[in-house]
């Protein structure tokens, strides 16, 4: 049985079929009393460890929560709820917050507010540590859709390939698979039901074959030994290449590149939120790549990268950290500062929309370079206003597109190559000089987008490791005069369709 879909990552892999039935993994954390006591005690341990080195004030603050979690009354209340673990805890804490609110005393009201954040962090911790779904190593995963955590697990467990029913090209779970070079096909109608009748699967680019006999095929590695982080065009023009990573383990097989983007939210989603845990990871990467630079992006939570707890999904990135979870922000910055012994770490602020946010964050930072993501239309439009306050810019394209086009990135009508996006990229870049400017977004890690980005004379890009080889191939065939033709056509285009046609024409020309 053969099916064709849309290829996200091309590749040739085979393995046993592993079907993932449910999309939401927190529902599967079955309640049992032992698990409850165990996880609450673990969280208490974590809290105490966190505050060990802090001022007395913070220790007292933690003491309150420690006592609360030890409280028999709270635990009984959780146990009596006929729900799964996460819901039961959530309800019990909400009830307590509600009772506090009803006492009509100001400090109890404040505490009730505070409890909401406490609850969020606790639930994220629980979800991170217990919410893991199981997946078989070396298998081909087949599902309707995945959650971010499931995608992360798939990457970590070295799953061979993924086949999905969803059509969401640019949703985060799919992007993770793309970034990590896991051969993936999406848009496969009804594949979950069909696959139930088979044992093995082979993925070859955009086609999946389901069989009942195992077939071995030759697979190839994405790790090539690159001598330098500059890829050079035919006419000698240099492009500086940086890499995007999510996990510390990704740098083990690769040398000579700056990390242009370390997305820390994946640590958060795995329950790694403690200062010391974070510091160890940052320090490890920093020393491993030294003297290359490590760019750490602050937790970019919200949107579809949602810890189960954030209520207003529109509050994202630095807004969330500054206004809803200062503790988390302070802790992360202090972890980064203490990890920066070799002075090769930079901080990147996500989802910035105004200068005030940068000023506010910079108050917390000393002696570390700070840059911002340009991924909202507002920040792209006032790029020049940020110059005074930041050391570098990094442009992200999927969010920039969804907020410019007023349509979610998962939607089928999302136009990745809409003319407005290229105008914004071009405008922002031209207003950024002389500060370093790079594109770390998805636009620079697909063949067509890469051509457009380079055509604007942007000379630094940050891309996922699996795309390095392909990017090198394309860049080495490019030259300035072709690029200036491309940029002229892209900037003057009327429709997305024209841009895609134009870019495809030049790509075919280059590769022929």
């Amino acid at each position: 049985m053969k099916l064709k879909g849309i290829s996200i990552v091309k590749g040739k892999v085979s393995g046993k079929i592993f079907i993932v039935e449910s999309g939401n993994n927190t529902e599967n954390i079955v309640f049992n009393v032992e698990k409850l006591d165990n996880i609450l005690d673990k969280y208490i341990e974590y809290l105490l460890e966190e505050v060990e080195s802090l001022d007395k004030k913070y220790r007292e603050y933690a003491d309150f929560y420690v006592n609360l979690l030890k409280s028999r009354r709270l635990r009984e209340n959780i146990k009596n709820k006929d729900k799964n673990l996460v819901e039961a805890i959530s309800l019990a804490i909400d009830e307590f917050a509600g009772q506090l609110l009803n006492t009509n005393i100001q400090h109890n009201k404040d505490l009730s507010d505070e409890l909401k954040f406490f609850k969020n962090e606790l639930l994220d911790f629980i979800e991170g540590r217990l919410g893991e779904f199981k997946v078989e190593k070396d298998s081909i995963v087949i599902a309707r859709n995945l959650t971010i955590r499931q995608s992360l697990k798939i990457v970590r467990e070295k799953v061979k390939g993924v086949a999905l029913e969803t059509n969401a090209l640019t949703s985060h779970p799919v992007l993770i698979l793309k970034d990590k070079g896991i051969p993936t096909i999406i848009g496969l109608k009804d594949i979950v039901n069909i696959a139930k009748q088979y044992k093995y699967a082979i993925i070859i680019d955009d086609e999946i074959e389901l069989t009942n006999e195992r077939i071995e095929i030759q697979e190839k590695s994405i790790y090539v030994d690159f001598q330098t982080d500059e890829f050079i065009m035919k006419d000698g023009t240099k492009v500086k290449i940086q890499i995007n990573i999510d996990f510390p383990s990704e740098i083990e097989n690769i040398k000579n590149f700056d990390v242009g983007l370390f997305r820390t939210e994946y640590l958060y989603l795995n329950g790694i939120i403690g200062k010391n845990e974070q510091k160890d990871i940052y320090e490890y990467i920093s020393s491993k790549i030294y003297p290359k630079i490590l760019t750490i992006r602050l937790f970019d939570l919200g949107g579809d990268k949602v810890p189960i707890s954030i209520e207003d999904k529109n509050v994202r990135g630095i807004r969330y950290l500054l206004h809803y979870n200062r503790d988390l922000l302070n802790r992360q910055i202090s972890a980064i500062v203490s990890a920066n012994k070799l002075k090769n770490i930079r901080i990147l602020i996500p989802m910035v929309s105004s200068v005030e946010e940068v000023i506010e964050v910079k108050k917390l930072i000393d002696d570390i370079k700070v840059g911002i993501m340009i991924e909202t239309p507002s920040s792209a439009l006032i790029t020049d206003r940020f110059k005074k306050f930041v050391d570098f810019f990094s442009l992200g394209t999927n969010d920039l597109s969804q907020y410019t086009l007023a349509i979610s990135r998962e939607n089928i009508s999302f136009q990745q190559f809409h003319p407005s996006i290229f105008r914004l990229i071009y405008y922002s870049y031209s207003k950024s000089k002389p500060k370093p400017f790079s594109v770390c977004g998805d636009m620079a890690s697909n063949d067509l987008g890469l051509l457009a980005v380079l055509s604007f004379n942007i000379n630094t890009i940050s891309i996922p490791i699996p795309y390095l080889q392909r990017a090198k191939e394309i860049i080495e065939r490019l030259e300035k005069n072709i690029l200036s033709e491309i940029s002229r056509k892209v900037i003057t285009a009327y429709k997305e369709d024209d841009i895609i046609k134009c870019l495809r024409y030049y790509l075919d020309l280059l590769l022929s």
């Binding site: 003491d63 006592n67 009354r73 400090h107 109890n108 505490l111």
Partner: protein
Amino acid sequence: MYTRKVVIVNKLGIHARPATKICEIASRFSSEIYLEKDGIVVSAKSILGILMLVAPKGTEITIRAQGIDEIEAVESIVKIIEEGFGEEI
């Protein structure tokens, strides 16, 4: 059974921090210890209970304990309340 009355003296009354302190001290004793205000009785070993008591500055509360270390238990809690939990009075 040993009982004493005491008035809350610190400016903010029994909020999270004092509640934690009471709870921690009470937990060191084996006696059953209760706080009472206007007919509401809560365990001094339960942080949830103490907060539900609602005791701003000037409130009189009754502390009652039953057990082998009841006197010491009640006196320890009275002491910390009278000291205003080391906070602004």
